[in-house]
């Protein structure tokens, strides 16, 4: 290896993905780093030697995460993999290119980086775990009818108009935006038993894991009983099963404008009770059945919800070995769609790390006016809702690409591009080894 210009070289961490590093510091395991925004940033960009310093730290963080990864992965698998409702778990340590992107963005937004530890703390999703939930069996028309007949809204019968809208929602008939706005809160309450059927086991073991973690820090069974932190059934499990601890600090319940949540409000309440104030929940206050904030203000803000309908429940966790991680819960259908849904958003935001196969798609996306792009993201939101309905066993009609859009933008084509790109990357990775190249 020959290095041009001081000690800086380009480190290829993955095929087609590289970052600048200081090779001497890397070889000497020198973890010193100190960035100063006033000194090291010009025209909104980090100076090259400092970028190499950040690159070095990113590679060092990647190496640390790789060491922490096996135990962290095992920890999550021990808790969730054997549950009947879990289809599988995928996990990965974050790579150095992704780490430097995050560090640079956060530093430019004001996060201080004066040491390796500062940088490590910023990478809150260092270990990414995805718990994939099984879909529910498709509901028969008889089962749906029974559910509709027995459904009560806050303990009362539905009016004729409310029932008509709910039926439209349940059977996935076309609806106007106004009908959707009116019907969505009812549909959400109607769907709660289905959501809970799909995710309750995961929620129970999150709650139990949180309690076990607190017990390791001094919480007693007597306190759990006295404060009512767990239901009788879970308390029984806690005392008879080998429960593994889990340390969640924050849960983010993402969903689109008319998207059902991954965990219901009642399930979040269960987790909050178990955590006893040690967990922060980030969620949408506009979908609660009471006004927490002035309604007019929230209505104004609604336009800022990510229009694609991105939907997941994710929590920041600190693994038992100290590794920072992000644990996501999704059904498998939603997860498959989420793998490629984000490409439109990424391209629109100017990220171009998707490879040459996406060039034609990119051209089409860049041609869309803002109004047309908004319409396109509504289509993506409908796709999210379609896969979610399917996973809950509800009637679901696959949305078609609205008229006036090039077929290249269809969901089917996005999937094809994504799959082809995965194969291409797999191919490139076959003979790839991480290496340094000169900086010309």
């Amino acid at each position: 290896m020959r290095i041009v210009g001081k000690n800086i070289a380009r480190f290829f961490a993955k095929p087609e993905q590289s970052l600048l590093v200081d090779v001497i510091k890397l070889n000497n395991r020198n973890k010193n780093i100190s960035l100063d925004k006033a000194r090291d940033v010009i025209d909104g960009k980090l100076l090259e030697p400092k970028l190499a310093e950040l690159g070095t730290t990113s590679v060092q963080i990647e190496r640390k995460l790789k060491e922490q990864f096996p135990a962290a992965k095992k920890e999550i698998e021990n808790i969730f993999l054997n549950l009947n409702s879990v289809a599988g778990i995928s996990a990965r340590p974050k790579g150095s290119v992704s780490i430097i992107t995050k560090l640079e963005r956060e530093f430019l937004h004001g996060a201080p980086i004066k040491s390796f530890d500062d940088a490590y703390k910023i990478v809150r999703d260092g270990i990414g775990d995805r718990i994939l939930l099984k879909p529910l069996p498709e509901l028969s028309s008889k089962e749906i009818k029974k559910m509709l007949q027995e459904f009560k809204l806050d303990g009362r019968e539905l009016s004729k108009k409310e029932m008509q809208i709910l039926e439209k929602y349940v059977y996935n008939h076309p609806m106007s935006k106004d009908e959707m706005r009116m019907g969505f809160p009812i549909f959400e309450k109607f769907s709660r038993p289905l959501i809970e059927k799909q995710t309750q086991q995961a929620v129970d073991y999150i709650s139990l894991g949180i309690i076990k973690d607190r017990m390791n820090k001094g919480l007693s069974i007597a306190e759990i009983k006295e404060k009512g932190l767990l239901s009788e059934e879970l308390l029984q499990k806690l005392q008879t099963e080998d429960i593994k601890p889990i340390n969640f600090s924050l849960i983010n319940n993402y969903r689109g404008e008319f998207g059902l949540p991954t965990f219901t409000n009642g399930q979040l309440q269960q987790i909050e009770r178990a955590a006893g104030g040690n967990i922060t929940i980030i969620s949408r206050p506009d979908v609660l059945d009471f006004d927490k904030y002035p309604k007019e203000y929230l209505d104004k803000m609604k336009k800022c919800i990510r229009q694609s309908g991105y939907r997941t429940c994710q929590g920041n966790i600190v693994h038992q070995n100290g590794a920072n991680g992000e644990c996501q819960f999704r059904d498998i259908f939603t997860n498959n769609f989420a793998e490629y849904e984000h490409i439109a958003y990424d391209l629109r935001m100017g990220k171009n790390t998707l490879g040459p196969l996406f060039d034609d798609y990119k051209k089409e996306i860049s041609k869309l006016s803002d109004a047309k792009y908004e319409k396109y993201t509504e289509y993506l939101q409908q796709c999210y809702n379609y896969y979610n309905r399917k996973s809950l066993g509800l009637p679901a009609k696959k949305p078609s690409l609205p008229k006036g859009f090039n077929k290249i933008l269809s969901e089917d084509n996005m999937k094809k591009l994504h799959d082809a790109n995965e194969l291409r990357l797999k191919d490139l990775g076959k003979n790839f080894t991480q290496h340094f190249e000169d900086v010309a």
Binding site: I279, T280, R284, P285, Y297, M301, R306
Partner: protein, 138 residues
């Protein structure tokens, strides 16, 4: 008399507890008083009740958050119980960060709110929630 080792006192080990500005502190007092009265009045021993909240707009530019709210949410799993929560609304997004303060029946919530250090806990939680919103993207 307590003796201090002056050599050990330097800028590194003196901890300045961040405090909220006076006007927020007063608003919090008002909010706590109103919520307390509503808990007394609106949480029944048993049966359905509507969840409720009180809020005020944050005008301190140093605190990240548009509104601060204290809510009493009906416990969906236990009859006659509620969750007392504190929340801070993101300044630009329709998302908020919430933290549970206490869960239980009317008496338990009121006892908790009457604790001597309750206001301190509320202030600390507001600061914590405001910080957690800074990293939120939606």
């Amino acid at each position: 008399m307590i003796k201090y080792d002056i050599k050990k006192i330097n800028n590194k080990n003196i901890y300045f507890r961040p405090r909220l500005k006076m006007n927020i502190s007063q608003e919090l007092d008002k909010m706590i008083t109103t919520v307390k009265a509503r808990v007394e009045r609106e949480i029944p021993d048993k049966g359905f009740f509507r969840s409720f909240a009180e809020n005020f707009e944050n005008k301190d530019s140093k605190l990240f958050g548009k509104y601060i709210a204290m809510s009493v949410e009906r416990d969906e799993l236990r009859d006659g119980e509620a969750l007392l929560k504190l929340s801070v609304l993101h300044p630009n997004l329709p998302v908020d960060a919430s933290n549970l303060l206490v869960a239980g029946n009317r008496k338990k919530i009121l006892d908790y709110m009457n604790k001597e250090n309750f206001k301190d806990e509320v202030e600390n939680t507001v600061l914590k929630l405001s910080n957690s919103l800074k990293n939120t993207k939606f």
